[in-house]
Amino acid sequence: MQSFSENWLPIGLAGYVAGVVAGLLFSRNSRVANYLSFGLGAVAALVSLVACVQGLVGGEALVSQTRQLLPSLTPIIRFSIRLDPLGLFFGVIVSLLGVALSIYSLGYARSFYGHKSVGVFGALFNTLLLATTLVFLAGNAFFFLLAWEIMALSAYCLVSFEHEREDARRGGVLFFVMSHLGTACLALGFLLLFQNANSYEFDSFRALSGQLEPGRRNAAFALFLLGFGLKAGIVPLHIWLPVAHPVAPSNVSALMSGVIIKTGIYGLARVFFEFLGTPPQWWGVTVLTIGVVSAVLGVLYALMEHDLKRLLAYHSIENIGIILMGLGASMMFLQARHPLLATMALIAGLYHTMNHAVFKGLLFLGAGAVLQAAGTRNMEDLGGLIHRMPKTAMCFLLGAVAISALPPLNGFVSEWLTYQALLQGFSVTPGLIRVLFPLSGAMLALTGALAAACFVKAFGITFLAQPRSGHARQAREVSSPMLAGQGLLAAVCVLLGLAPSLFLRVLDPVGRQLAGVAARDHLVTGSGWVLSGVAAGGGTVSTAGMTILALCLCAVPLALWWLLARRARTRIGPSWDCGLKGLTPQMEYTATGFSKPIRMIFKALFRPRREVQREYDFSPYFATTVRFESHVEEIFETRIYRPLNWLVLAVSRRLRALQAGSIQAYLIYIFITLLALLFWTL
């Protein structure tokens, strides 16, 4: 019997293909190409979304069915699609963002009219969505790598889409290089599995289920961690993220930060929980530690940024870290034979994956709107936008609250679940290693606080007070499709926050597939409105209840006002300006100034450097010009990547002697190889 999602998913995929074709066909007419290709993309994403959700919620029988999407070329290369809960769950993420981003792009692509090919842009965008969906659905290592590469290549084209700018080219190349390093690791990892399974099908990898000898298994773990970790942007493999994400067009940045880096999380979950069997303890410890380091360093570097999109990119690293904390804790619980806790930690991580996709997509769309309206990403030149673009500001504020893990929005729910898992880990894990759990919990708390500080800065400097430049003063609200895209994601943020039990129904099959237990009944009490930690000592929380409480509390000041100040006279006057004559933008807090305390506290990490040059005529107190420069050292680039780069170049220079350019030399190489092979056979 063919199930619902099996019928509808191919239609969704075909819709993306139609979007690609339409974009290319009508590339001469920007307007038609825009509406057709992004419109088709939105419809296709919507169909896929419905199919994936239906598959997860309705289909019990959907656990790992393999189907052929296309007839195969050879026995090894099979285009098989595997509809299982994990893949469908990530399909939900990509489709959801696909809908919102395609709608947003309808408005955003208008800025390309006349000087860039909108048709090509739409075609590439649809290709990226299609390839990413296929990455999540592929049931064969070959097909997976194929989709993975198409995804990387189309993402590269999109990052460098505005290739007349130098930073876009550089960012694209860095992304391209890092991405292929990762793919090399993945190919090796899959070959390792293939040697034991004798097939590239995921089903046979699953059947393998950790019956590898330990050395081989650890090698596979390391390779996959490197390969998928590169894509996810874990520290210290993260350097491409803050370079590549900001230079892409904003809808592409949203897709990259929201979904593309999640392909790494998908791969890690797929391989570690399904293919490699019960993980040894040190795997979980490694993943958890990487998560902690990524989260803290990501948010610290984000605080130092004044470039709105770079700031968001650093936050992606932070959130990947939080997701990995959940996954790592889950792996440790699996090893300690606590399937229920493992499921809960896994669900926390995956829930955060979903949440991050939504709010980071939303924030990037907001940043894109700001960029289009004010023409700059530099926060020091922005300000006062809340009066000029109120709707964008509202959406951005919602996203900022969500990413700062403040209740009642979605970021809070998943981080709360992660806390619960980490805190309960202490009591159930034997040995000294359990100290890791409260430590990670503390670090997660630090991360949340710093993230909140960071978004106070991002929102406050960008949207509040007075505009700091003429561009910001002339900003106008963006077009309605762009607002619709943001509004949709903002609504999802609220929904995921207020009704987590609905969403847990989508996640439950995934937990059952990977960790073996259905945890929803343990996680949800109070007829679906209250979340609880699974163990007896765990806490409970209800975001909906909090909201109702907050709304009720709103009545208190109103009542007080009515009781006490009803009759008071209202007087409107200017803000206090320290006795000076009027407030100017120069008096405002700058982004640099705002983050200075944190820069000082973490001086050892940032190694801040500042230069002040002042010129004066007669008295140092009356300078004619002042030049101020402030830098933060990117420690991974200067301490790891630059020496590595230097080493590679030095070795290559040596090796270049081999390539002498003389035919004789090349012939001698061939001859020597031939002789060596002949002697080998003797």
Partner: protein, 222 residues
């Protein structure tokens, strides 16, 4: 076919293969280009003879085609083409090898030894012309040696052709019926086209660098 005649065929083929090897050695120590081309023609003639013998003694009539093609292409056409080329670009006749004649002979002797050692599992079989495999491998190895030993582009073309002769010898002698005719034809035309392209290239190199010395090509490197 009676057995003595089979044996005669085998002897004949081995003899001609040995002669091919001798010609190859002469080619290695040869200093004049035109003489080299003639030696190559002689070697190809021997190859054609081997093909004809194989065809006659094994009653494999399609191998005659191979013999004829070799005769037409490698004995007559290619030497003529190369001759014309050499005369047209008026180069100095002398080839300037990397290694001197005595050293080259020593190296080639070593290569011959290696060829026989590698082919030993086959020579033990005692089939018709099975010794020729050793000769074929030696031709191949010395051909490549010849290729990097000479600096002139035309000599390298010659060396490539002797490598091809070696391959053809292995094909004809070992499989007694030759490879499928289609394959033979394919290989043959491959070589023909390659030589013509190389000929044009040589001409161009000569035009550009006023020399045929491939050492000059490293100026192309970025």
């Amino acid at each position: 076919m009676t057995p003595p005649s089979q044996e005669l065929g085998s002897h004949l083929i081995t003899l001609m293969a040995a002669l091919m090897l001798v010609v190859q050695m002469l080619l290695v120590v040869q200093k004049m280009l035109l003489a080299g081309i003639r030696l190559f023609a002689l070697q190809s003639l021997l190859l054609a003879g081997i093909a004809a013998a194989a065809a006659f003694f094994n009653h494999a009539s399609e191998v005659y085609v191979v013999a004829l093609l070799t005769l037409a292409g490698k004995v007559l056409f290619l030497p003529w083409l190369l001759n014309r080329q050499v005369r047209r670009i008026q180069i100095v006749q002398e080839v300037e090898p990397l290694l001197g004649a005595p050293t080259s002979m020593l190296v080639c002797g070593g290569l011959t030894l290696l060829g026989y050692m590698v082919a030993r599992p086959f020579t033990h079989l005692g089939r018709t012309g099975s010794n020729t495999l050793a000769v074929a491998i030696t031709l191949l190895l010395t051909g490549i040696f010849l290729m990097f030993n000479c600096r002139k582009a035309v000599t390298q073309v010659l060396a490539l052709l002797t490598v091809e002769n070696g391959v053809m010898l292995a094909a004809v002698a070992l499989t007694s019926y030759g490879m499928p005719l289609v394959v033979e034809l394919g290989v043959f035309f491959d070589v023909l086209v390659a030589v013509m392209v190389l000929g044009i290239l040589v001409y161009r190199i000569r035009e550009t660098f006023a020399s045929m010395d491939v050492d000059k090509l490293n100026q192309l490197k970025g």
